[in-house]
Amino acid sequence: MSIDWITVAAQIANFLVLVWLLKRFLYRPILDGIDAREAEITNRMTEAVQAKDDANTVKEAYHDKARALHVAQSEMSETIRKSAEEKRDALLVEARQRMEREQASWQTHLDDEARKYATQMHRAGAGALLSLTRKALMDLADETLEDRMAHHLVHQLRPIADDLKKAAGDGPAAVVSSHDRLPVSAQDSLAAELKGLFPDVTADFKTDPTQAPGLILRIGGAELAWTVESYIDGLEALIGDRLGNSTGKKAQANGD
């Protein structure tokens, strides 16, 4: 065992060469790579922090926008709600008015229909009453209805003769109109009666098919009617009063 000093010198040289080689091809590339990677990581982390800050800024801006949109949405909703309420109220008012108009129209139509029906009923009732009365008078008493009606008009004229004179003034004629032509006997008796009550007046007899059966006396500006219609009107008023009284009593009984 001995030391070969030439080998020692060669090994020192080899070692120094190895130090340089490893420095050139191992340590420096590795350490520089690590430093570069650390710098890269640091840069990326800085960029990430910056990106995070930017993202936070954008997030805040987005939240602000969202809040503003929310407020705007609430205001818009409130405006729309108020507008809808106003529109609804207007529509309700319009609908109510339309309904009232339609109700009024319907009521008018109903009244017209009722009036027409009542008129028809009136006429039918009057016709029936007239036929029945005429037939009954003829069958039972051998009398005509027109004679009896003329006779009744004469009886009614007597109590109100003074009033008629005042209302007639200086009228030259008294016109007696009827639906059908009066019998001659009825005309004579009525003319004699009128002559007695109003000496200066001459009686004139006319027929009017549009007039209700009965007699209408016109002297000057005064008019005295004794027709089936007036009779039925009185009869209806009487029935209406009776029905109204009985309905009121029944409602009062139900209320009690």
Binding site: I12, L22, I30, R37
Partner: protein, 231 residues
């Protein structure tokens, strides 16, 4: 039986005989350089490291961590020197398992060369770091009387380093050779495995001791104690 590879001449180069120590040293150098070159040739910071580069980084950073722990601070030149010492000794000892390979570290010439390089490196690093006066001042610390002892200690470090490395590696190889003649199977294998372990430990110890010596020469001197603190 040849105890040292210095005695084995591999070939003549221009009339100069190249022995096994130098030849296998070149083999180790070529191996380390080639591996480093292959792994580090395409290093880019934006490309994730592969497993080989990661392995090298772990080794280099491990050496750097040890050096920084001993030297109390980063020093690239110390890394180059002590790291190369470790890698060279470790690779030489690791290649012991290769049949026909004679580790250069089993040559006293190699260990002497490494010890001499440490002996030269210590004052070089010391002078570079502290300046010539600052370094020479360490020889008379704590007093002028310590000068001869410090000089003896300086040389004894190199001798102890050389003998320690040589003795461990050469003894392992010699024991394996003897056991191979006595018991041809099993024991040489066990001894080789043990030799790998002791070789790695020796590489670590050699590099750490060299780092300690260089660090003691380059480290800043301790602050003077005040009179009140002196017992």
């Amino acid at each position: 039986m040849k105890l040292s590879p210095d005695q084995t001449v591999m070939f003549d180069a221009w009339g100069v005989p190249i022995n096994a120590t130098i030849f296998f040293t070149w083999v180790v150098m070529a191996l380390l350089t080639t591996i480093s070159l292959l792994i580090t040739r395409n290093l880019r910071p934006d490309v994730p490291p592969n497993r080989w580069r990661t392995t090298l980084e772990v080794i280099v950073q491990g050496i750097q961590g040890q050096i920084e722990e001993i030297a109390q601070g980063p020093s690239r030149y110390l890394l180059y020197y002590a790291g190369t010492l470790f890698l060279f000794v470790a690779a030489s000892n690791f290649l012991l398992v290769v049949p026909g390979f004679a580790p250069p570290t089993s040559s006293l010439s190699t260990t002497t060369a490494l010890a001499l390089s440490v002996l030269i490196a210590v004052p070089l690093f010391g002078v570079t770091n502290r300046g010539l006066a600052g370094y020479l001042k360490t020889y008379i610390q704590p007093s002028f009387i310590m000068l001869p002892f410090n000089i003896i200690a300086e040389f004894s470090r190199g001798i102890s380093l050389a003998i320690r490395l040589y003795g461990n590696i050469m003894s392992g190889a010699v024991i394996a050779a003897i056991l191979l003649t006595v018991v041809p199977f099993f024991f040489p294998v066990v001894m080789d495995v043990l030799g790998l372990l002791t070789g790695m430990i020796q590489a670590y110890i050699f590099a750490v001791l060299a780092t300690v010596y260089i660090s003691s020469a380059t480290g800043s001197p301790p602050p003077p104690q005040s009179e009140k603190e002196t017992p």
